[in-house]
C-alpha cells in the first residue's frame, strides 16, 4: 500500500514537503487558507466503502500498477483483514465492525487511500478551479483556494455524504 500512496493527488510525505511547496507558491491576495480534520477517521471508514474505494483506485490507475501485482488477491486479503479485526481487552474479546484499528501498520495507508480515492474523483475534480493548493496528511487537510466562500459549505457537505461516514 505504501507504494500506492504517491498516486493520491493530495498525498504529502511530511510537513517539510508542504513547507517547501509553500515557499515556491504564488499566492494571490484574495486567496483563503483552510484546514480540516476528519472526525474519528479510522473507525468511520465503512469496510464495504473502503474495499470498493481500493477496487476503483486500482481500476483508475491500471496503467500505473505493475502488471504482476496480484490485485484480486490483495483485495481479498484486505477484505479478510478489515472484516476480522478481532482483539482482546482485558479478558474480553471484541470485533471491530467498521473502520480500521489504529496501531496496525496498514491503518494509515488504508485511510489515506480510501479517502484519497474519493478526493481524486470527487473533491479535486469538482473544486479544481478553486483550489490553488490542497494536501492531506492522513486526516488533516490544509489548502489554499480562491472564490471558495460559495463552495465551502458544499465541500463539507459532500465529504460528509460520501466516501466515509466521517465528518470534516
Amino acid at each position: 500500500m505504501k507504494e500506492l500512496l504517491p498516486l493520491i493527488k493530495s498525498y504529502t510525505k511530511n510537513f517539510f514537503e508542504v513547507l517547501g511547496d509553500l515557499k515556491t507558491l504564488d499566492i494571490p491576495s484574495n486567496a483563503l487558507l483552510f484546514s480540516a480534520d476528519a472526525k474519528s477517521m479510522y473507525t468511520n471508514i465503512d469496510t464495504t466503502v473502503g474495499i470498493q474505494s481500493f477496487r476503483d483506485f486500482f481500476t483508475s490507475h491500471k496503467t500505473l500498477i505493475p502488471v504482476n501485482f496480484p490485485v484480486n488477491l490483495f483485495l481479498r486479503i484486505l477484505e479478510l483483514v478489515m472484516s476480522n479485526n478481532i482483539f482482546s481487552f482485558g479478558n474480553t474479546t471484541w470485533l471491530q465492525l467498521s473502520g480500521t484499528a489504529m496501531g496496525t501498520p496498514a491503518a494509515c495507508s488504508y485511510a489515506t487511500i480510501t479517502y484519497g480515492q474519493y478526493e481524486n474523483t470527487m473533491i479535486l475534480t469538482e473544486f479544481d478551479a478553486q483550489l490553488l493548493y490542497y494536501r492531506r496528511y492522513i486526516d488533516d487537510i490544509f489548502g489554499i483556494g480562491s472564490r471558495l466562500k460559495q463552495k465551502k459549505k458544499q465541500l463539507g457537505r459532500n465529504s460528509r455524504r460520501e466516501s466515509t461516514n466521517g465528518e470534516l
Partner: protein, 305 residues
C-alpha cells in the same frame, strides 16, 4: 595583581564545578582526556539522585486511589527509562553466541553470493529459527573465541570489583514506589497521547472510559469465547486457503513469508487507550497493538508494505 587574578580564576572554577555538579551530577577535570574523565565518572559510585533528571513530568489522573510516595520521582523518568540491574549480569556467553551467529550468517551469505539477493524483502521477512549457519573458517572462529575469553576476563574483573556493591540507578524512594505500583492492581500506568509523559489512572475509571467511549459504541461488538475462537480459526483457515490457491501470484519471498508466519504461535491483537491529557475533558485514544501477533499481522504486513 597576579594573586587577585588567580583568586578570581579559582572562584570561577569552583562556581563552574558547582554548577556542573548541580546540573549534571558530575564535572570533568580539564587536565584529563575525555575518555579518562568518562572512566573516572563511571568508576565512582555517585549518589543516584545527583545523576537523575530534574524536569520530571507525569500525570496523576487518579481520583480514587492515593499514589505511593516517590511516584513522581519514578514515573517522571519516563517509561523509556532503563532500570539497571543491581549487579552486573552474567550473560556474556549468550551475547557472544548471538554475535557469532550473526557473523556466521554474514559469512555464509557472502560465500553463497546472497548478500544482494533480489528476492529478499526486509519488510516481509520472518527468521527461520530452525536454520543454523555452518561454522565460519577457523581464523574467524578463533577470533570469536578469543574475543569471548577477553570479554569474560574483563567481566570477572568488574564482577570482583563490584562484588559487594549494589548498582541500581534508582533511589530507595523510587524503588519502593516501583514495588508498590507494581503490586497495586487498582491503578494502571499508560503512556499519553502525543507523548506527553506517563499517566496514572484508576483501573476502574480507565476500563469504564474505554467501554463508554469506544467498545460499547456501534463500531465494536463483544464476542463470546466460542464466537471469538470460531471466528479467529475461520480467519486463519480462510487466509491459508487464499494463499494456497493464489500461490502462483506470489513471489518466492512472499510464499516463504506466509508459510513461516503460519508456523508461529499466535495471540490476539490487544486494545488499549492513551489518555489525551492535552484535551479537556480527558478522553482516550484507541490503539490496537499488533506486536507479536503473527496470524493477524502477517497479512497486514503484506498489504501495507
Amino acid at each position: 595583581l597576579f594573586a587577585e587574578q588567580q583568586l578570581n580564576l579559582e572562584q570561577t572554577l569552583r562556581a563552574t564545578k558547582h554548577r556542573c555538579f548541580h546540573q549534571y551530577g558530575c564535572f570533568a577535570d580539564p587536565k584529563y582526556s575525555l575518555q579518562k574523565n568518562f572512566n573516572i565518572q563511571i568508576s565512582h559510585n555517585e549518589p543516584t539522585s545527583n545523576t537523575q533528571p530534574k524536569n520530571l513530568g507525569f500525570h496523576n489522573l487518579c481520583s480514587k486511589n492515593k499514589l505511593p510516595l516517590g511516584t513522581k520521582q519514578l514515573l517522571g523518568l519516563n517509561l523509556n527509562f532503563c532500570l539497571a540491574p543491581t549487579s552486573p549480569r552474567d550473560n556474556i556467553s549468550k551475547t557472544v553466541l548471538k554475535m557469532a551467529r550473526s557473523i556466521r550468517i554474514k559469512y555464509f551469505l557472502d560465500q553463497h553470493d546472497l548478500g544482494n539477493d533480489k528476492e529478499y524483502n526486509r519488510q516481509i521477512y520472518i527468521n527461520n529459527t530452525d536454520w543454523h549457519p555452518p561454522p565460519a573458517p577457523l581464523n574467524i572462529e578463533n577470533h570469536i573465541t578469543n574475543f569471548e575469553k577477553v570479554l569474560k576476563l574483563k567481566q570477572q574483573e568488574v564482577m570482583s570489583k563490584n562484588k559487594n556493591r549494589s548498582l541500581p540507578n534508582l533511589t530507595p524512594l523510587q524503588l519502593s514506589a516501583l514495588r508498590k505500583l507494581q503490586s497495586n492492581s487498582k491503578i494502571i500506568i499508560k503512556p499519553t497521547d502525543k507523548n506527553l509523559g506517563p499517566a496514572v489512572l484508576d483501573t476502574e475509571t480507565y476500563v469504564k472510559q474505554v467501554l463508554q467511549e469506544h467498545l460499547n459504541t456501534k463500531h465494536y461488538q463483544l464476542l463470546s469465547d466460542t464466537e471469538s475462537r470460531n471466528r479467529y480459526e475461520a480467519f486463519k483457515s480462510a487466509l491459508k486457503d487464499l494463499i494456497t490457491t493464489n500461490i502462483d501470484c506470489l513471489s518466492k519471498a512472499e510464499v516463504i513469508y506466509f508459510q513461516r508466519s503460519f508456523k508461529l504461535r499466535h495471540r490476539l491483537l490487544i486494545f488499549y487507550g492513551l489518555p489525551k491529557v492535552h484535551k479537556s475533558p480527558i478522553s482516550l485514544r484507541a490503539v490496537v497493538s499488533s506486536v507479536n501477533v503473527s496470524a493477524q499481522s502477517s497479512p497486514i504486513g503484506w498489504i501495507s508494505r
